[in-house]
Amino acid sequence: MSGGVAPLVGFLAAAVRIGTPLLWAAAGEVLAERAGVINLSVEGSMLAGCLGAAIGAYATGNPWMGMAAGFAAGAIVAFGFAVVAIWARTDQIIAGTALTMASVGVTGLIYRQATSGRAAGLSVVTLEPSPLPGLGAIPFVGPVLFVQPVPTYLAGLAVVLIWLVLYRTTLGLKLRAAGEAAEAARAQGVRVRLIQTGAVVVGGALAGIGGATLVLAQVGTFAERMTAGRGFIAIAIVVLGRWHPAGIVLAALAFGAATAVQYVFQAMALDVPYQFFLMLPYLLALAALTGVAGRVRAPSGLGRTVD
């Protein structure tokens, strides 16, 4: 490879790596929102996934056990949300905020307890990039897309799977019906709240994997509130991606790039305070919402409590 494109390749590869946890969480949120549920506890699921992954991987020494623990932890938070928002029929926004608050508290408590008496915290070995045979050698595209840690490839697979389920199965049809017209769906015999619960819990589990990816493929440890709003950004990604699996892939990459850009500028030693780069993903999210909101249509029943 010539030296000229190397920085660009590095930047794009970083964008893909940083975008991966966002993509997992957004994939989960797409499921929930297509079923008509806006789930703000996705932030809590991610955070729980982070802690689950850190503890699971630390305790077993196996990152894949960490992944599994993150998956389970994310699902647990989402289940709590489903009980409160769907079955007790409360306001979804507030219920999601409450579950995220609870996750912050519970993860903080468990983390302190897990690390008490140990100065080192929960440091785990991070997953190295695993080049895909053949594909990784493609010029330019290879190092960007196919020399990544395994969770990135799995995220791509998950998105394809979600697309298949949503658009090519009866279950997907029922799920979308629940999100568009719950009453009509129910009249056709669809068990709306059951489907919504399933979508939310699976979605939370995927967000948990997103958190696990953040720990296992990027940070290598847990810190309180470490998700720092990534779950909320995932919600913006879903809007920007027009509630479509393919759309969220592009949107997640855009946010990955917005975060990766700060490393580029730091390397260039520009005289811009680093805090402005910290703001960038959030500002981009706002700008993106402005660009698409009004022109795209959310699922009609989104956020509406089903009685």
Partner: protein
């Protein structure tokens, strides 16, 4: 509603919240009785603890909670009070640093006004996005919290950093801009101000056309527009701006009454806790006063718990979450029982 039933749900919520905390702490191997005792001592252990910990922490919760009640009544879910609080604190600090030669009678109102304007300004973007681009204020206000965090970080390491340029904090604000304290305590003039504001908002809600309009718009926007000839967009805009102003004022009160300077992480999550305060009080201003005291006690107790029993203060967010959920369930049950009174 009788006095008893009015206080039943919050009391049930508080007891449940503390029970969940105790069970969780036991499950994790903490000494739960000792932790709860430390929590109680931290909040009510002495007159000094009550005034200087509980009441001091109740001030921002009450003031932000009143603002949240305004926006939630109008059906606008402002969950970015945390960022608006920071914006108010930044504005108040910026002004507070430059009023050294003014009389306190002018300096204090100027600084508080700056805070309120700062908070309202932080909502301007969500308001524009909502009105012009139909972006949900839930997401925009939430995202701006993180922008505010980064901006505070920039301010205390940049334009507002102390003149010694060592720590990420501002210089102390002018003495003239500081709120008077009650003798023998750390309780500042913000507390009576918060009580007065609660009374004022209660009157606005129950006795003014604007208060009625808020409720009508929040309960049934279409009906308000069609039959009541109300400008729904205008009303929600006003509600959002006022809620931001209240959160910004709370930030200014924190700077002028407690810290006297701008720091990183000035708020331990007051903006989110205040949502619980407003909800458990069912958006009723007088209820918010009492709920604010309750949650202030919880925050004060959390600090005591961390200090005396080694339980991280963040544990208290479990209690807060439980209380929000109980409040939601109470509202949902009331609605299911009386479907016609869905408002």
């Amino acid at each position: 509603m009788s006095v008893l039933s009015r206080f039943r749900a919050p009391l049930v919520a508080a007891v449940l919240g503390l029970t969940v905390l105790a069970l969780g702490l036991s499950a994790l191997g903490y000494d739960a009785p000792a932790a709860l005792a430390a929590l109680g001592r931290g909040a009510f252990g002495s007159w000094y603890a009550f005034t200087s910990a509980t009441l001091v922490r109740a001030v921002p919760l009450i003031v932000i909670g009143l603002g949240i009640a305004i926006s939630f009544r109008a059906g606008a879910l402002n969950i970015g009070a945390e960022g608006q609080f920071s914006a108010g604190a930044m504005a108040a600090t910026a002004v507070g640093l430059f009023v050294g030669r003014w009389s306190g009678l002018v300096a204090v109102p100027a600084v508080l006004l700056a805070g309120a304007i700062g908070g309202a300004t932080w909502v301007v973007v969500p308001v524009i996005l909502r009105r012009r681009y139909r972006v949900q204020e839930v997401i925009s206000t939430l995202l701006l919290n993180f922008v505010a965090d980064a901006l505070v970080s920039f301010m205390v390491q940049g334009p507002l950093q102390e003149s010694k340029r060592i720590y990420p904090q501002s210089d102390p604000i002018a003495i003239a801009a500081r709120l008077p304290l009650f003798p023998g305590t750390r309780l500042h003039l913000g507390f009576p101000l918060a009580v007065a504001l609660a009374g004022f908002v209660a009157i606005v809600f129950s006795r003014t056309i604007w208060g009625f309009r808020l409720k009508a718009v929040g309960a049934a926007p279409r009906a308000a527009e069609v039959s009541g000839r109300m400008d729904v967009a205008r009303t929600t805009t006003q509600a959002l701006l006022w809620s931001g102003a209240f959160a910004g004022l709370a930030g200014a009160l924190e700077v002028t009454g407690v810290t006297y300077a701008l720091f990183l992480n000035l708020s331990p999550g007051y903006g989110f806790t205040a949502i619980a305060v407003a909800l458990i009080a069912r958006l009723d201003p007088v209820g918010i006063l009492f709920a604010g005291l309750g949650f202030g006690a919880l925050e004060a107790g959390a600090a005591g718990m961390q200090r005396d029993a080694g339980v991280p203060a963040v544990a208290v967010s479990v209690v807060q979450a439980t209380i929000i959920v109980v409040a939601l369930l109470a509202v949902a049950r009331a609605r299911l029982a009386r479907p016609e009174a869905a408002a």
